[in-house]
Every structure is written in structure tokens, then in C-alpha cells.
Amino acid sequence: MPDSPMAPPRSFLWSRRVFLALLAAFVLTPVYVMVSSSLKPLADVTGRFRWLPSELTIRPYIDIWSTVPLADYFVNSLIVAGAATVCSVVVAVFAAYAVSRHEFRGKRVFTVTVLSTQMLPGILFLLPLFLMYVNIGNATGIALFGSRGGLILTYLTFSLPFSIWMLIGYFDSVPRDLDEAALVDGCGPLGALFRVVVPAAVPGIVAVAVYAFMTAWGEVLFASVMTNDTTRTLAVGLQGYSTLNDVYWNQIMAASLVVSVPVVAGFLLLQRYLVAGLTAGAVK
């Protein structure tokens, strides 16, 4: 194992090679299908499956924007996921700071309650939330149902429990002396938070932001119930490529790729922070 004086035996090296190769094939096959099919003409994806395109075409990447209003869905998803991420991170930073740095009554109750909401099945509060949003809309005129606001509100709470939990661990790893020194220097508690603790915990905050964005970007259940034609997000909008006669698989794959690239790229760029955040917060 790490730096062990003995070299690993051949049996270990061979099992590792075989296992990782098989696993890579399993992981990569759908990715290959997605990429290669997005460059095929329609005939290639309606007939028998072929590993290689009969000809390479970028037609699907042009057509996706006109077959369904993909740009609108994209903007909706971007607004919803972006706003949910920003709000979730801000709220989580405050809460995690309180738990990490202050003693107060009900601290344990708070952390346990927040964490346990993470285990609730989404279906349990889908129906009541649906009715609540409809009724709030009827009573006050604030449109939550069908609006981006309602979706933002819902999504930001989805990532909140895990974000708070991870940030508590991260803040705990920032030495207390640092913010105590800031307090002595005349910063208020909030000054200490923003000038000392937050800058020291940037990797954790980035990790939490990535997680929150991914959660909002990929959610299907609430998006399918709580959006209408103008607020539809990608999660629901992508199903528009399957018309009754022809399923435009090449366009679906092209659209899937376009939709995935921003999140996957962001995730892979920032994954080291996520691993570091998990090490500090979750598995300690």
C-alpha cells in the first residue's frame, strides 16, 4: 500500500488491471454512445445500432435548438440552478458558522433535524408542497407554483442539509485562534466570518456550491410537476425530442451532451475540492 517497502505481488497487479479495465469499459460505453450518436445522421440511429457513424455530421447540434425551445429551457435551468446554488451556499455558511463556533441551546436538535430531512423521500412532501404552493398563490398572489421562484426555493433546501453538514466539518478545521484574533482586532462576529473563516474554507464552499448546482441541475421529480411551458427546465424539456413517429435519438444525444458538458466539466475541475471537503466534513 502507500510507500510500502514491498512491491505488490503480481496477483494484485493483475486483478487491479483486469478490474479497472472492465470498470472503465462499463463506465465509458454510455459516454461513447452519447458522443458517437450525437454525430450520426438520423438513419443511423433509427436502424440497427452501429458502433461507427456511416458519416459524421454536426447536423444534430444545429437541429436541437429548433426541434424544441432548448435555449429557453437552458436559460430556465441556468437561472433556477444558479439562484438555488447562491442562496443555498449563503444560508449554509451562516448556519454552519453558528454550529461550528457558538454554543447554544438546541444545537443538537437542529443538526439532527436538518440532517434527517435528507432521508425523507421526495414523494412524501411533493404532494403537500404542490398544494401549499397552489394555495399560497391563491391566497396572496405570490406565484410559487409554476414559477422559477418556487423551484429555486425547493431546490435550495434539497442541497442545504448536506451543505451545512459538510461546512461544519470544514469550519471546524479552521483554527479558532484565527477568528478569535479577528474578534479582538475589532471585527464583529460577521466580520470574523467573512474576513477569516470563509476565506480559509474556500475549498469547502466551492465543493458545496458544486454539489448544490448539480442537485438543482439534475432534479426531475419536482421539475416535472412544478413547471409550466414558460418555466420548463432541461430535465423536463429534453423529453420533447421523442415525437410519436420518430424519436430523434441523434438530437437527444446531442442535446444531452450540450446539457451535460457544463456540469461535468465544472465537476471534474473542482472534484479535488469535493474530495477534500468530504474528507474534512463527512468521513471524519
Binding site: 502507500p2 433535524t113 433546501t157 442539509p161 439534475g218 432541461l234 444531452s256 461535468v264
Partner: protein, 328 residues
């Protein structure tokens, strides 16, 4: 540290009528500050999770059909009727729920076991540095990073009867099946769902175990190596036992996520899942939004919650007792 220690006694030893009123607001502010910081999180949790949960429990005792949705408060009370319908396993509704529950339990156990196994094996194999490790690690995280619906849509394409990759490989290229199979309807749909779920879920286990491995002290391995333990023995004697606390949390989280998963089956099969892959979340969704009978749907959700509470509680009790005896 020292400055605060110096300041404290000064404050305590200087009582005075003029100081007291100034001190109190400060102390109140200091006491209420944590609560102020928590307030946004608390309000949001209340609004989106706890209040709806309470409403859901109330709804499960009401006869809440489409006529009452506009103003659900006026729906008549129905006592335990919704629960009676849900657990009457001789009638169609209860029978379907029981069948869905069984499928979900089987699916969850298999999926969690496979995700854990693959994730742990990959993390342990990739603990040592070797050429291409960084690239491989990034690659392995792709299924986790992909938005669920794009990943699952790709699998839907691969599982197509006429133009999918799976049938092309199994039937046309390897000649394993006499006829091309249907994967998204009928009994095969269970395996299709399991495959997609494992493909999507194992990188999370990989991520957590990788993080957990970094907390194992190096000296343990060095000591074991000095004692003559080979690589396999080190994995069995040090790595796996050290991962126990991580695994306890990981398995629980995987279990809850898989059991409650809605996105994967919903995108894979659409609104009506085949019987063999009818996971409980989609089943309740179907029972509520297709028939517009929210009362029964809520009763089913509450039963689901109770089940998860019992399982989670039992699991935590068992694992913490296990930990205590292993410490002793």
C-alpha cells in the same frame, strides 16, 4: 487567546450602575446571534420540509380527491380509510403497493451491495499511485457528475429493442439470445433498472471510500509490512477494518437514496413503470397524480416514512452496538 483572558477579569471586577445596562444588550446579542444565523436555514427547512410533512400526515386522514384540491382544508375527514385501502393486500390497490414494496426492497439491496462493492474495490485498487490514475479517477466520476436525466436517457437509447446497443451486442454480435429482448418492459426491466442504478451510483461510494482511505494512518501499513503482511493481507487486516465507520454511514446513505430514488425509474420508464421495476416512489406518484387521489397517496407516503424510520433506527442501533462491542 491571551487577550480575552486578560479582558474577562477586568469586566467582571468592574461592576457599576452605568455599565450594567450597556452590557446586557451586548450579551443578548451574543446569545441570539447563533439563532439569527440559523434563522434562514430553519425557516427554509420548515417551509419546504417540515410543514409539508405535517400537512402530508394530515392529508393522509382526509378524503382528498380532485374536487377538494383547490381548497384542501375543506376535504372531509376519512379516519383511517386511506390506510385501510393502502394495506388491504387482497384488494388491487394494496396488492399493487405490496408488490411495489417488494420490488423496491430487492432492487435496493442489490443496488447498494453492488455500488458498495465496486466503489470500495476501485478505491482500494487506486490507493497506490500508478500511471494514468488521475485520468481514470476523473473518468470514474463522470457517471456521478452527469445530470441524472441525460445519463438515463442514454441508457434508454441503449436498451431500445430495434436500434439499441445492448441487443446489438447480445443478439447480433454475441448471439447469446435467440430473439432480441425487450429491456424496458416485462421482467427484464428489473435488470435494466439495476444496471443503470449501479452505473450511476457506484462512483459515490468510490468517492466516499477514497476520502475515507486518506484518513488511515500510514504507520499502520508500515507496521504491518514490517510484520511481513503482504498487500492482500494489508487490505484485509488494515484497510477494510479501518473503513468500518465510513462504511456504516455510506451504506445507510446509499440505502436511503436508492430506496427513495425517483429520477432514474421515472426517466427510464416514464410515468407507468413495468410491474417488475415498479419502485415505490414512482408507484406513489402514479397513485396520486394519475388518479388525483392525494389522500391515499399521502397515506402510502406516511407508511413509507415509518418504514424508513424503523429501518434507519434499527440500523443505527445495531451498528452502534456493534461498534461498542468491537471496541471493548
Amino acid at each position: 487567546m491571551t487577550t480575552t483572558a486578560l479582558k474577562e477579569p477586568v469586566r467582571e471586577t468592574s461592576p457599576g450602575a452605568a455599565r450594567a445596562p450597556r452590557r446586557r444588550p451586548g450579551r443578548i446579542r451574543r446569545l441570539s446571534l447563533p439563532y439569527l444565523l440559523l434563522l434562514p436555514a430553519l425557516l427554509l427547512e420548515l417551509l419546504v420540509h417540515l410543514v409539508p410533512m405535517a400537512i402530508g400526515i394530515v392529508m393522509s386522514f382526509k378524503e382528498l380527491t380532485q374536487f377538494y384540491i383547490r381548497d384542501w382544508g375543506t376535504a372531509p375527514w376519512s379516519g383511517l380509510d386511506n390506510y385501510r385501502v393502502s394495506v388491504d393486500f387482497d384488494a388491487p390497490v394494496g396488492k399493487a403497493l405490496l408488490q411495489s414494496f417488494g420490488v423496491t426492497v430487492g432492487f435496493t439491496l442489490l443496488s447498494v451491495a453492488l455500488c458498495w462493492l465496486i466503489g470500495t474495490a476501485a478505491a482500494v485498487f487506486m490507493q497506490d499511485t500508478f500511471r494514468g490514475r488521475g485520468l481514470l479517477r476523473a473518468l470514474f466520476l463522470v457517471p456521478y457528475a452527469l445530470p441524472v436525466y441525460t445519463a438515463v436517457i442514454t441508457w434508454v437509447f441503449m436498451f431500445q429493442h430495434d436500434n439499441g446497443l445492448v441487443n446489438h451486442v447480445l443478439h447480433d454480435q454475441l448471439h447469446l439470445t435467440g430473439e432480441p429482448s425487450f429491456w424496458l418492459i416485462g421482467d427484464n426491466s428489473f435488470y435494466a433498472l439495476l444496471t443503470v442504478s449501479v452505473w450511476k451510483g457506484w462512483p459515490f461510494a468510490f468517492l466516499i471510500v477514497t476520502a475515507g482511505l486518506q484518513n488511515i494512518p500510514r504507520e499502520l501499513y508500515e507496521a504491518a509490512a514490517l510484520d511481513g503482511a503482504g498487500t492482500w493481507q494489508q487490505i484485509r487486516r488494515i484497510t477494510l477494518p479501518s473503513l468500518r465507520p465510513v462504511n456504516q454511514v455510506l451504506v445507510l446513505v446509499l440505502f436511503l437514496w436508492t430506496f427513495n430514488d425517483f429520477n432514474t425509474p421515472f426517466v427510464l420508464f416514464g410515468r407507468a413503470a413495468p410491474e417488475a421495476a415498479d419502485l415505490i416512489s414512482v408507484h406513489i406518484y402514479q397513485a396520486s397524480f394519475v388518479t388525483w387521489n392525494f389522500g391515499t397517496g399521502s397515506a402510502m407516503s406516511v407508511l413509507l416514512l415509518l418504514f424508513l424510520l424503523v429501518v434507519t433506527g434499527g440500523y443505527l442501533l445495531l451498528t452502534s452496538r456493534g461498534r461498542r462491542t468491537s471496541d471493548a
